[in-house]
């Protein structure tokens, strides 16, 4: 049984990891920890969220810190794996003894971490995992602001109501990815059908990765659908757009799920990505205080004209958390929670009052990509550009 020699080495390894993890505990600063999918499938979004977090920390430390103490971030890489996200949340809470937990992405990871936050009674401000996870009775979770698929097209619906009925599209083709985000986007489709009188002619779900978009567009074209909802991510969204162009499919409007709000959309698609509608819960051209400054920072550091949404989200979740802490004047999680549920927070995405579930009032902005920029269309008060409707034909 020489093999058992290995057991000794393993024991040593375990001892090392015990010690290794102990090292990172520091006394003075306020620790804020958790995990982000820094590598793997969701690396791109996580990278911007991380930058948002770090910029927030930098800014607040310059101002003298939170409750007079500097803040320090402990960010783990969960490799886009929800199970790891759970373990790292526990590591942050029980080993690093963080004072605050930060929010994570994507949908499934946030969904899996929300119960952890609840068990350890930690305030958790994140995009949330859409409506289903906010109806599980968690009291410490907040969406500030949330990315709610269920509300994603509220702005679109409101704006469409201003279009005379005869000019509205009549028949919709709806293609939705089969995951939590897709499922919640589908919810808003029902509202769309009811309130606008647009008939859903095609309603199909697909599993990612989408093998080919040609048949989807062909079918929409044949069924004379004059509005296309492509409720997906970037990869499938790009395929759909390109197939639509190649097959010269010209609906009155194309509405894209969450693909068109990331920087890659305008950067990679160029003109072909224009005139696509989408929703958003946050935008760099909103008039709320802070956005201008963030845009300048992003321009200076990363050479982008304005901050990407996920940078804003990261920053904004931290703002919410910060105001909770400052309002409660304490790091006591229950006090922070109670303060957040009874007061208004002021963020770059707007002013929120949270209800019992931890959600603000349903709201969403309508965006359209025009000349390679994501412009705000609705509500009218925030409009940065007139909508282009109906969509011009492909050139």
């Amino acid at each position: 049984m020489k093999g058992f020699k290995a057991a000794g080495i393993l024991a040593l390894g375990m001892a090392m990891i015990l010690m290794g993890s102990g090292l990172s505990v520091a006394a003075k600063p306020i620790l804020i920890g958790g995990s982000l999918p820094l590598t793997g499938k969701f690396a791109e979004t996580a990278k911007w969220i991380e930058r948002g977090y770090r910029y927030w920390a930098e800014e607040i430390n310059k101002k003298g810190g939170l409750l007079g103490r500097p803040v320090k971030l402990i960010i783990y890489d969960d490799e886009s794996n929800a199970s790891k996200a759970v373990t790292y949340a526990e590591k942050a809470i029980t080993v690093d003894k963080v004072d605050l937990l930060f929010g994570g992405y994507p949908g499934t990871a946030a969904r899996a971490v929300m119960p952890v936050a609840e068990k350890y009674k930690k305030v958790y401000v994140s995009m949330g995992g859409h409506m289903k996870s906010f109806s599980q009775g968690y009291t410490y979770s907040f969406g500030g602001p949330p990315l709610m698929g269920e509300w994603w097209y509220l702005g679109f619906i409101d704006w469409m109501k201003t279009i005379p009925e005869k000019d509205r599209p009549k028949r919709a083709a709806v293609y939705t990815m089969n995951n939590p985000i897709g499922a919640s986007l589908l919810d808003s489709m029902k509202a769309m059908e009811k309130e606008l009188g647009i008939k859903i002619v095609i309603n199909e779900k697909y599993n990612l990765p989408l093998p080919d978009a040609t048949p989807l567009i062909m079918k929409a074209k044949q069924m004379k659908c004059d509005i296309l909802f492509s409720n997906g991510f970037f990869a499938d969204g790009v395929m759909t757009m390109r197939a639509a162009k190649a097959l010269n499919y010209n609906p009155k409007a194309i509405v894209q799920g969450v693909g068109s709000v990331i920087p890659a959309w305008t950067k990679e698609l160029g003109k072909d990505g224009d005139y696509v509608f989408s929703g958003t819960a946050l935008h760099n051209k909103l008039k709320f205080p802070g956005n201008k400054k963030l845009n300048e920072v992003v321009k200076k550091r990363w050479g982008l004209p304005a901050y990407p949404v996920y940078f804003g989200f990261g920053y904004c979740w931290m703002q919410t958390l910060q105001q909770g802490v400052e309002g409660a004047k304490s790091l006591d999680q229950t006090k922070i929670r109670d303060w957040l549920k009874s007061h208004e927070v002021h963020t770059i995405a707007g002013n929120f009052k949270f209800d019992k579930r931890g959600l603000p009032k349903p709201y969403n902005y309508l965006t359209q990509v025009i000349d390679g920029k994501v412009e705000l269309i609705w509500p009218l008060s925030v409009r940065t550009h007139d909508p282009v409707y109906p969509k011009p034909h492909w050139k």
């Binding site: 393993l10 990891i17 794996n81 929800a82 373990t87 499934t108 939590p180």
Partner: protein
Amino acid sequence: MKPFLKTLLFLCIAGALALPWLSPPVYFVSLLFIVFMYVVMAESWVLIGGFAGYLSFGHGAFLGIGAYTTALLMNHFHLSPLWVLVSALPAGAVAACIAAVIGYPALRLRGPYFALITLCFAFVMELVVKNLDFLGGPEGLWLKAMGIDVGLARGIFFEVMFVLMVVTVLTVRHIEFSRFGVGLKAIKEDEEVAQTLCVHTPRVKLSAFVLSAFFPGIAGGLYAYYLSYIHPETVFNIDISILIVLMALFGGGGTFMGPIVGAISLSLINELLSAFLKAEYARVIYGLLFVVLILYLPDGVMSFFRKGKSADT
């Protein structure tokens, strides 16, 4: 075995059993819970993949089946969360039954064809669960939280997983040196020859496959509770299937010790790297680890320990 090693092993087991009650940070309990789960998975995989040489690339699916069975049972019968410990057993049974149904035709396939069919099976399972709304569909399933302190709950599950791991390891170790195990190894060497030596190969293979699905099924039940929220992309993830295979091979696929060494060392090294290095650098070093290991020990970690014993063959 040398007395020193025996003592060390005993200390390891005693230490592991006592760990949750020494009130360490819960993270360590959780981390080891996951490590033990991987040991169970890799160890079970070795039955069919290591001994019989049938590389199953879909073994993660049995974890998912176990997780979903447990979650459905709990949610359907509104069981109190502690019942998860009991309902994990039928979950193991369900996984074993599905393994029997899949294994019966699939085990007629040899080599890469078997690997491919198990891979396809894992995909189909993930997609089917995602497509069927009564299984939670794309939304996934939530499990009720246990009404007790989270540390205590993690502790209980840690002990249960530990026992499951010990049972799995002992079972596999027993099999390795039994007639059954010899039959499996004969199949790996040469299936035709094994047949002529009166090994009833279809039955032996199927038994090994079913057994190798049973333990992951139970582990899946416990895992479902650990996560509290399960989703096809989390529990049926193909990465789990591949990771199990790698763990077993990393340690050295042919023995019961290999997967233990592989699962524990890979999990802990990965954890260490992530603790100290920036994300991408950690991954690069993790990749280098595989390269360097194979360059120096082409047959896995365990071959290092065996080298002293007998000459290279």
